[in-house]
Structure formats: C-alpha cells, structure tokens
Amino acid sequence: MAQGIDFTLEGRRVSARPDETILDVARREGLKIPHLCYKPGYREVGNCRSCMVEIEGERVLAAACCRKPQSGMNVLVDSARPQQARNMVLELLKSEVSAAADNADELDYWCQTEGIGQPRFEARVSADIDSSHPAIRVDLTRCIHCTRCVRACREEQVNDVIGLAGRGAMTRIVFDQARALGDSSCVACGECVQACPTGALSPAGGLDVETNRDERRVDSICPYCGVGCLLTWHVRGNRIVRAEGRDGPANRSRLCVKGRFGFDYVHHDGRLLKPLIRRADAPKTAVPVAPADMMTLFREASWQEALDLAAGKFAAIRDQQGAHALAGFGSAKGSNEEAYLFQKLVRTGFGTNNIDHCTRLCHASSVSALLEGIGSGAVSNPVSDVEKAELILVIGAKPTVNHPVAATFMKNAVKKGARLIVLDPYRSDLSRHADWHLQFRPDTDVALLNAIMYCIIDEDLIDRDFIAARTTGFDELALTVQSYPPHKVEALCGIPASHIRDVARLYATSKASMIFWGMGVSQNTHGTDNARCLIALALMTGHIGRPGTGLHPLRGQNNVQGASDAGLIPMMYPNYRPVDDDGARQWFENYWGCELSDQRGLTVVEIMHAASRGDVRGLYVMGENPAMSDPNLEHTRTALANLDHLVVQDIFFTETASFADVILPAAAFAEKNGSFTNTDRRVQMGRQAIEAPGDAQQDWWIIQQMANRLGLFWDYTQVEDIFSEMRGAMPSIAGMDWQRLDAQQSLTYPLTNSGDIGTEVLFVDGFPSETGRGHFVPAEYVCSDELPDDHFPLVLTTGRQLEHWHTGSMTRRASVLNELQPEPVLYLNSTDIQNLGLENGCRVKLMSRRGRLEARAQCDDGVYPGSVFMAFCYHEAAVNLLTNDSLDPVSKIPGFKYNAVKIERVN
C-alpha cells in the first residue's frame, strides 16, 4: 500500500490509507467495534461514543469513527477500559429507548453482540408517537440522538427539515419549528428512515417491516423520473413492501418520495386483469368514464379474441385506407427494448412513421435545438458533474420537485462552494441555495438570455479560441444580440440591468459552468429558441466539452432518453438516423428486411389533429395517456372518440382507455425486465420483482403478438434478444452486452466496443454535426400566442408536483402519494390571493377560452405575481382542458407554460 500509515491495532501491525479512520481499518481487519452514529458515506460526528478505543499515551479514549491513525500509534480495542466505556454507552442508550418490536435494529444488534442486558438505569420518560405523516412514523422513544437523520435531511438530501433542538436531557429531534411531521415542510424523501439505526423513524404502517425473514430483495431501478435511481425492493410473497435506495452513480443510495413510498400502485385494485373489448352498445363520446364504470363500456375477452380484433382492424385500415391512416404512441415509461419493438412494429407492421411519444410534450424543442446546434440531443455531462462545476445555472426547472435526487447533488455542490444561479419566474426551494435568482417575467426567456449574451460579448468575456476552433455562425448571433442590451430588456424581463450583468459575468468567468434546464424552457411556443440561446451561451464561453460544464436538459420520464434513442419519434430511426435520408432508410430496410416509408411521420399533437380530421383512423397507444397529457383536451378527447380503431395497452383503465375499442392489460414496471436510459445516458437494469396480476402480459410479448398478426414474423424469446438487435442498429450502445449490464447495473454510452468504460463527458474534441463544429443559431424575442387580457387576466403555467407523476395514473393510485396530495390545488402568490378576494384553501373555478375546472387555491409565494400554477395529474380537474394547443413551429411542442386564464371563487 502506497504511503500507508503503519500502526498497531489490538496487537496487529496494520496499515491505513491517509483517508481511513481507525474504525475503517478495524472493519477492514474484521474487528467488530460497535458504532451507531457512524454511517458510511455520511459525515462522521462521533457523538454516540459506542466505538471508543484507547490510544496509548492519551488521557481520554478516542472515537474510532472519527480518529485517523498516526504512524506508530498503539490502539487498544478490547482491553478493559475501552470495552467498559463502550458497554456503558450501549447500556445508557438502551435505557433511553423503548423496547423494539424486533431485534432488527442496529442498537439491539450491538447490545446483543456485546452482551448488554437489562439496563441498570431508570428508563427515559416516553414521548408521544407522531403518526401525522402518511409515509413516516415517528417514535422518539426509540431515538438515541445519533443525528443520522439530521445529516440525512440536511447534508445528504439538503431538505433542511430535521433539526436537533434543545439541550441536555431536553435534546430532541424536531421537524421545522417542532411541528408534527405531517404538518411540517417534510418532502418525505425518506432518507431519514433509511438512515435511522433504531426505527425511531420508520415507514408508516410499520407492520410491513416487523419481520423481514421471508423477504426477498430485488435490485432494480425507480420507475418514475429521468434521474434513474437504483433501488432495492423488499418483496414478500407477490407484494412489494418496501423500497430502499441502492448505491448507483446517479443516486448514491438516495431516493425521493415517489421512489421510496410510491411503489404500491402496482397492487392497486384498479389493475387491468383481462383484455377488454368495447361493447357493441357503447358508443364513443368525448367524455371519459371513471374506472369504476368501465364495465358499462367494455366486456372481458380472451387474449386470442382481443389480439385478433386489435391487430385485425389495424391491418384492415392499413390495407383499405393506407398506412398513413395509422399511428402509434409509444411510451417513455417502457424499456429500451419495448420502445424499439414498438417503433419497429409501427414502421414495419403499420408501414408509417406516425410514431411518437411524450417527448414531444416535454423536450422536443430542446432536442431540435441541440441537433441543429451541436448534432446530438443527448446531455453533454451527467448530473453528478455538478461536483466539478464552479457554477451551476438552472433555468426553467424545478429539480427539487421533478428531479429531487438530482437536486440533492446540486445542493451538495453549492454547500461545497459551487455558485448557483437560478433563472426562473418561479421561486423554488432551490432558490434559497442560489447566489442569484433572477425571477424574470414569464415568456421573456429569449430576451433575458440574449441580454446575458450581450453582456458577455460587450465585456469581452467570450472564449475566442473556442469560438474560432469549434463553432460557426458567431457573427450572426452577435449581431442579433446587439439589440438586447440589459437596460433595454430590464423593463421587459423585470430584472435590473446590473443583475443581468452580474450573472453574465459569473457564468462567463467561472472555470466550469454547467447549464440545466427543464420544461420551463422547452414547453413554450418559443421553446426551440430558448434552447438555442442556452446552446449559444455555452458555445460562446467554451463551457462545453469538459468536466463540470455543458448542457443538460433534465429528462422527465425514466426512459425518455432511451425511447428517443430507440427511434420512438416520427422523423428518426433508432440512433437518430433521419427517415428521409435515403442511406439511413436503406440501411434499416436491409436490417429489418422490409420496405419503409420515406415520409416523416406526424407528431403527437399533429396525430390528434389528423384524427379529428379523419386522416388518421387507427391508433395504437402503449402506456401513454393523451386524454390527460395533451393540450386542449376537449379537442384531443373528441379526436380520440372520432377514431375508427383505438387500441390501448396499459396497466390501468386510463382516461385514454375510455375511448378504446380494445384494451390490452400489461405488466407494470416491477413485473418486467428491461433496460432504461436515464437523463445522464446511463443504461440501467430494471428487474422483475413480482408476477403480473390476472392475465396481464409483458409488453414485449403483446407487441410481438400484434406484430405477428400484422404479417410480421417475429420470434423474440426474451428481452435480451431485442437488446442484441438494438446493439446492431445503434453504435452508441454496440459495446454493451446484457451480461455486463446485468452485473454492473449501470453503463454510460457512447460505449462502442465491448470492454470500453463508457463516456461521461461528450464533445471533448468535436461535435457530431456534419462539420464537426457547433453552430450558433440566433433567436429573436417573440411573445406567446395567447396573452392575458381583460377577460382572462392571469397566466396559467402547468407542470408537475413532487408527489404526483404526470397524469397521475400511477401516483394517484399509490396510497401514500395520494394521501400526501389528495386533491387538485392551484398555486397563487399571496398578493394575488388577496387581490382576488380569496383565501388560502378556498375553492375556486379556473377558466380559459377552452375549458374550466374547480380546485382549491393555495398560497405559494414562489409563484410569479399574476400567474397561477397547476399540475396536470388530477383527472377530476384536468388542467389540460384549459391549455392552448398552439405549437412551437420547429419542434411542434405545445406551449403548456403560458395560457391566459381567469379565476372565480366558488361559493
């Protein structure tokens, strides 16, 4: 061992690395020393004193968990003095806590190991159990004040809810200002539960953790967002009872509320168990029915009958109306293999490129701008690169809500000294950690970003060498931004010119600046322009192609990156080969052995328009819910009802399923194997933990059954076969083999040759564009399509909230998540609440030119004055009834973030 520190540990000659503590060495040497406040990966605090050892020549004992050995030190572990101290500490702690239900916790383990019996001291006065929180039970009679929960909450997740209050015997764990947990600002990430060594903090409904003897553990990944957290499910029988964070490159054992507590939707009694066929006497209307009433519209059928009907009708439409009368919506929730198979079915079985998925509604504009600017739609650097960044710029994103675990790494980086700049009309939790938060007027992104670029050019903070060597089009860009001096946009954006200058300087002059953005940037009718500006910002300062720099559009769905890579988009084959490129088409015709359409297909919203016109007659929807997620839902729902043939493949009776002719019951995430690609381009393994209920089947099996009824002859026997075929078509993952993926859990592409370690940072030497250079694309400020007026004076922004995922089809059926956020709420600034004569919690009616809904008004001072925010997860108050379906001209993404509305109080 290089530069080892040689010392004596309990008579053994040992050697330590400079970063190792005595406890580290002892653990490595197999010496058992009790430890409770110590948790690997957490900061050592040495407060429990159960790991005391004697260092020869020192007056008092030392805590092995905090003390680093020095050369020549003689450390005694099992001699009488340190042993008595450790035993007394354990006895004191045991006297502090009530008896555990089971000997499952760490304190009991060490007491048992060290032979600590009934304490000779009086017991501590017991405290009340706090069961106010739906997810976490607080029993402070089990608390030993080790502060692992405090460090979990404040140093790992940086949610800053848990504190250690009081002093002496009155020392106690508190939430906020000593509130009940359920009334606190706790975001229920559950890191504290995972950290607690005694069960003082445990999952609510604790019966599930009482006995873990018959549990199986399955290593998988979280089914929700694009962060891609690794987790382990504890399974009893055919039931998942608990989720635990597992150490992965994207999450380091952390999870958020959805991953940790949102898994039981798979056991919801609304799961589809049988194939369903629309009753002959059930006509289609534009109004979805509730799941409870589904049997008024449908009847059960066998797989044989359902598949024959589902595929037969598609074949008939294809043969009679032409291939372009068909379309498919795949899902970014499915695996890479499912996405690949589904687009292959539509392209080869239907014979059309009318294939799209929800990426169109989230990052289509980002991808368009990225492909145009730097030739690749993928993120340049992983989230974890924030550790290497000197400055982090977050724009149009609420990572603490939508990518909570990614946000923890940003907050960690800030605590370690990185600068954080937030540009957003919304003041989120992240803003509290920011050096600068520019709360600009909604819709003025392009003006603000142009002004920032103006300052960078004006003060000559550009990276001339980078621009000269690696880009084209700078002069045109410079010309455009000349019209955006900060003092001119000050009034428009509502940001003082000096602040714009300060931010510009910070971004440009830092050694490594990294940009993150979300739907706030992309979901606008000028979404592509917004992203173009961000790309230009990175290019002109050379903040790309190095660790800790770059461009990172935060991906929403767990597999939106993978689904796009796999070709689940209308203009690209797998690996972003354009469908209207002859070479690409011929390659795939050869690879798949059939003729392919050379026409770009329609996008999500365009397919709906075509359906309402009658141009598209048959639609296959796998795992998507356009009847909730699309803008201007009235129109979408009418279009869905207008279809001749709609096949919906899902795990629940979604709003979209209401309009189906055939419903195919599918297996849920935890019931399948497959690979998923996270926002960082990490390909990770989802593993089957339980069997699908009823007759529900795996998606790849269903797609293959459909394919074979459409005249294709597929014979995949396992998921692995599909992955192998994908590798043949996608050089970026060609070097990944299934066994290695299975063993290593997570591999980052490009990984071209087997044996490569993968590529974390892209564009180090060049861009994958035709010229190898990045291209500046100037953008002019244009305001949104629908501006507020006297009739509709407020701006509605839609999005997601922490506890609910997208259309709520999963999370509204996850018991804890739904209990945490049970009903539709509309967020407003307190000033607007006052001005509108409302009060916090009152019921209101929200109206736009397209629709209306009822919800509760809730005060959130982070919301920009004059704006309201609402999540689109509530079927009983579907906010997309109100949104505008005008599109970004380049990427066809709808402008969800800006709609004119008004509010009335409901009496």
């Binding site: 040495g46 001291f121 009340d128 002093r167 002496g168 015997a169």
Partner: protein, 554 residues
C-alpha cells in the same frame, strides 16, 4: 403512548409557512445589517427578544427567510440557548421572567427558600437558573436584564415597581480617557512602532509563566507560538463566558478596568497578526456589555491606530459556550456544541481559520507583565508554586470577593487572610477548589496548595480558581447533587456519556441510597468517553462526595 390525531387530509401549510411580508420588513429594520449574516444569528435573536420580550414562530420563520436558513436550523439554535424565550401559541410576551440562581454559592445562601418564597409573588414568572457570576452577592436573581443582589422577596418587589429592567453600566470604571491618561495604550503603540518584537513579547510571557486562566492552564506563550506558526488569516477570540459556578473574577476586573483587557487583547492580536478580534461576553452581564460596547467604539474612534476588526458578541445562557470550541460554534451563529479534536482550534478555529482563544483574565495581565517584567508576575507563590492567581471566594465566609493571591495558597489561608474568616457559627467542613467541575475537598485537606497541577492527586483541579466554602450545616452529598443537576441542564446534549450520563447520575443521586459501584462505573465512562471537559469533569463532585465525606452515606 398516545397517538396524535391524524390531520385532516388537506393541509394548507404543508410546504412551510407563508412569510408575513410586513413582519419581514420590521425584522429587517431590527436586524439593521446591510447583509444579514448567519454568524450573527444569536445577536439577531437577542434583538427580536429585546424588542418583543420573546420570540414566536413567525419571528423565527421570518428570520430564517432573511438569513437564508431553514426553519429547523433557526429553531434548533434558538432552542439551545436558555435565555431565548420561545413563545408558544398560548404564551404571553408581557410576562416578566425572574431568574433565580440556584447554583452552589446561591444555594448556600438560601436559594431554595428564596425560590419557594418568590413563588408567591404575583406579576412575575419565577424560574431557577444557573450561576449568574455574582456569587459575592448571593443569593442573586435577574429580573429580565437587571440583576438583584442579595435577593429577597422585598428587594424583588421593589425592583418590580421600577418597571425598568435593564442594567446600567458599572459605576466608577476607568474609561478611555482615564486609562490613556494613566499611560494606557502606550505599550500597544510601542508594539505598533516596532519597539517590541513579537518574539520579545512571547519570550516575556513565557518567563512570567502566564497560563490560561479560564481553567485549563495551558501556557500562554506556547499557545501564541503555535498560532503564529499557522497560515494567515488568523483570529483572536476573548472568552468572557465566565459560567463556572462560583466564578466572578472576570466581571470584577472588567467592571473596573475594561481597557486593560482590550490592550492585552490588541497586543495578542498584534503578535499573531489577527485580522479580527472577537469578544464573547456572557449574557448575564448586560451592564458590562453596554459599557464595553461604548468603550470599544471610543477606542476605535480615537486610538488613531490601525486596529483589527473588533466584534463584541453576547452569549445567550449556555455554560457550555465557555468551552473554547463550543464558543467558536456559538460565534458562528450555531448551537454551542464542542467540536471533536483534532483538529485543534489553533489549526482550524473560528470560520475555519487558526484561532487564538483566551480567557479574558489571561489577556488582562499581558500589559502588566510586559511593562513590569516577567518577575512581577512570577515572583509570588507559596508552597513552591509561582505566580499570582485570582480567586473568586464565596460561600460561608465573611468577605466573599475576588482576591489576587499567591499561587499555592491554601484554602485556610485564603479564608483567614482574605475572606475575613468563616461566617459566625460556621466552621469549615469542605470546599470546592475550582467551581462545580473542580470537585470538592474536606476540611482535613484545608492546607493543600491551590494551584494548577497540585490537586490532581486528590481528584480535583483548580480550574478558574472559584473557591466555594461550605460548613458543618451543609451536606456534601446535596451539593454534589446540585452540581450534577447543573451539568445535566448545561450538557450540550451531543454525546451519550454526558447527555445521558448526567441525567442518569442525577436520578441515582436522588435516591435515598446511592448505588456507589454503579456511580463509579458511570463516572469512569463519563470521564473517559465524553467529548469535552464538561462531561469529563461532571462526576468530580459526586466522586469527591463519596470519597471524602463517607459519613454522609453510612
């Protein structure tokens, strides 16, 4: 165990409180800092309390918002310090709090009877409180910010009538002009003019044998040298959190001659090239705080010298902040929890910078030692000891007070030569040689030398030289319990041996029969395994009671 009721499903404030914008403006005015700083959090809490007589949840939420901390962070800090009155929903800010000292010297002077009698006085809420540093005037009480010496029901009632519960600056102290007129700050100027080299200063201190007078007794010159050897920038911290029961020497010196401390501190700052000088004064001395603030301002305005930044901070009622690293945490605006060492504060102290921290008295003598020579300080001494010590003498003596006496003096000599003998009707039964934590000794050991290092064979130490004398009417066992209660209340709560150990010890010591073997076992772990001196020393009086006063247990 009771289950708390489930809240209704819809929870309006689940995402945290809504900040009252008008209140935020008022708080900002109160804070009156251009850029609110988290390290000044304790000062901000004081200002809120001074203005509103208490701190409620809205204040804390507003303050958290202003300094950019979470509510939990602010709450845990506010709840650590006993002088902050956190108002619950039903609490009235108008209530007048009367703190009555029940620590050792005041207990000997009848604090328990006083507490009981004051319970009947209307218009105040009476709470027992730890040592207030006025043991020469025992029993003592504080009516909000005003100290009442020789407290009685009558004196409290008359103080209540005055309606002004603040404390004036101490009368008759030597102000800036008088100090300068008598030659003050000449030495500091000489240092600035290179008439003294840094090495000369340190060498002189070394020859004088000056040791840290807060209790630890670490040689001052060595400490200065260590800090000088650390990379810049460096900090100087003056510890005036005198809280050891029975100790009041810092108060006495300060209220007579504050500039002697300031000059000593500035010389230390000069030697270690400190950029900042932090003075941490305990909250129990509001009159001194007022005076010191004024005098520092005068000094800064009129010295004409390029002084380091001088920051005067006040504590908020936490004995543990007298521990050097806990004090640093407190200066950083945090809970006063001692740090684990290594690293030592000389390496990484205040805000992570190398820090020289001294008890105020150590610095107080620097000017005299340099001006009068090392021998002036070193020459005194009895029983082979050398130097002068400032004894805070209290308890059953005729003339309690602070006495500068030769190191190595015995308690008998101290009582006879300085304390005017025992009070009438009292004979020496035992004494605490160094406050509550220094242990206690019986009358049979009244002739041992009182100094650093001389008492360790007896299981005691001199600490801050707070000698509390008790007599045949007192019970060592009860005094030991009083001391243990004090430690249990004042434990920072961080480590198990101290937090749980002191509490369990109090429970065992309240029993009719002490389980002596268990107490010995517990004591050993507290001494061996506690993080800081509080827990390590807490068993001393208990162990001494069993060792030297066995007759009380038979």
């Amino acid at each position: 165990m009771r289950k708390s009721p489930k809240p209704t499903k819809y929870r309006a404030n689940r995402q945290g409180p809504i900040i009252d914008k008008a209140l935020r403006v008022r708080l900002l005015a109160l804070i009156d800092d251009e850029t609110p700083r988290r390290d000044r959090l304790i000062e901000y809490l004081h200002r809120i309390q001074d203005r509103y007589n208490g701190i409620n949840a809205r204040h804390l939420a507003g303050l958290a918002d202003i300094v950019g901390l979470s509510q939990a962070e602010v709450y845990e800090i506010a709840s650590f310090y006993s002088h902050f009155r956190l108002l619950g929903d039903g609490d009235s800010a108008d209530e007048i709090i009367l703190r009555v000292c029940d620590s050792l010297s005041c207990k000997l002077a009848g604090a328990e009877r006083l507490l009981e009698a004051l319970g009947k006085v209307t218009g105040v809420r009476v709470v027992a409180a730890p040592c207030m540093g006025r043991c020469d005037q025992a029993p003592v009480a504080m009516l909000r910010r005003q100290a009442i010496s020789h407290a009685s029901v009558e004196r409290v009632a008359s103080a209540l009538e005055q309606q002004d519960f603040s404390e004036a600056a101490p009368p008759g102290y030597i102000g800036y002009d008088a100090y300068v007129a008598a030659g003050g700050y000449t030495l500091l100027r000489a240092c600035f003019n290179a008439q003294w080299s840094r090495d000369e200063i340190i060498d002189t201190l070394q020859q004088s044998g000056l040791r840290g007078l807060g209790g630890a007794g670490f040689p001052a010159a060595t400490k200065w040298r260590i800090v000088c050897g650390q990379p810049a920038k460096r900090m100087l911290v003056v510890n005036i959190d005198e809280g050891e029961p029975g100790t009041f020497k810092d108060r006495i010196y300060l209220q007579q001659d504050p500039h002697r401390l300031l000059e000593g501190a500035l010389i230390a700052a000069f030697v270690i090239e400190a950029s900042d000088l932090y003075i941490y004064l305990r909250d129990e001395y509001p009159g001194i705080q007022r005076m010191l603030g004024d005098e520092i301002a005068t000094l800064q305005a009129r010295s004409g010298l390029k002084l380091p930044h001088i920051h005067l901070r006040r504590g908020a009622g936490a004995y543990i902040c007298g521990e050097e690293s806990a004090l640093i945490e407190s200066l950083e605006g945090k809970r006063g929890m001692p740090r684990l060492r290594p690293p030592y504060i000389a390496q990484r102290g205040l805000f992570g910078y190398p820090t020289l921290e001294h008890n105020m008295e150590t610095l107080y003598w620097v000017r005299d030692i340099l001006e009068k020579g090392a021998d002036w300080f070193a020459c005194a001494g009895r029983r082979g000891r050398s130097g002068m010590r400032s004894f805070s003498l209290s308890g059953r003596v005729r003339k309690p007070g602070v006495y500068r006496a030769a190191a190595g003096i015995s308690v008998q000599e101290l009582i006879d030569e300085y304390g005017g003998g025992m009070q009438d009707g009292h004979s020496l039964y035992g004494y605490f040689p160094g406050g509550a934590s220094g242990g206690m000794l019986p009358a049979s050991l009244a002739d041992v030398a009182l100094d650093f290092d001389t008492l360790s064979d007896y299981g005691c130490f001199i600490g801050s030289a707070a000698v509390i004398v008790f007599s045949q009417v007192d019970s060592a066992r009860e005094l030991a319990l009083n001391a243990m209660r004090f430690f249990a209340d004042e434990s920072c709560g961080q480590c198990t041996p101290c937090r749980v150990g002191t509490t369990r010890a109090v429970q065992l010591m309240q029993r009719d029969v002490w389980d002596q073997s268990l107490l010995h076992e517990l004591a050993q772990t507290m001494m061996d395994a506690s993080i800081c001196g509080l827990g390590q020393a807490a068993p001393n009086p208990m162990l001494c009671a069993m060792k030297y006063f066995p007759q009380e247990f038979s």
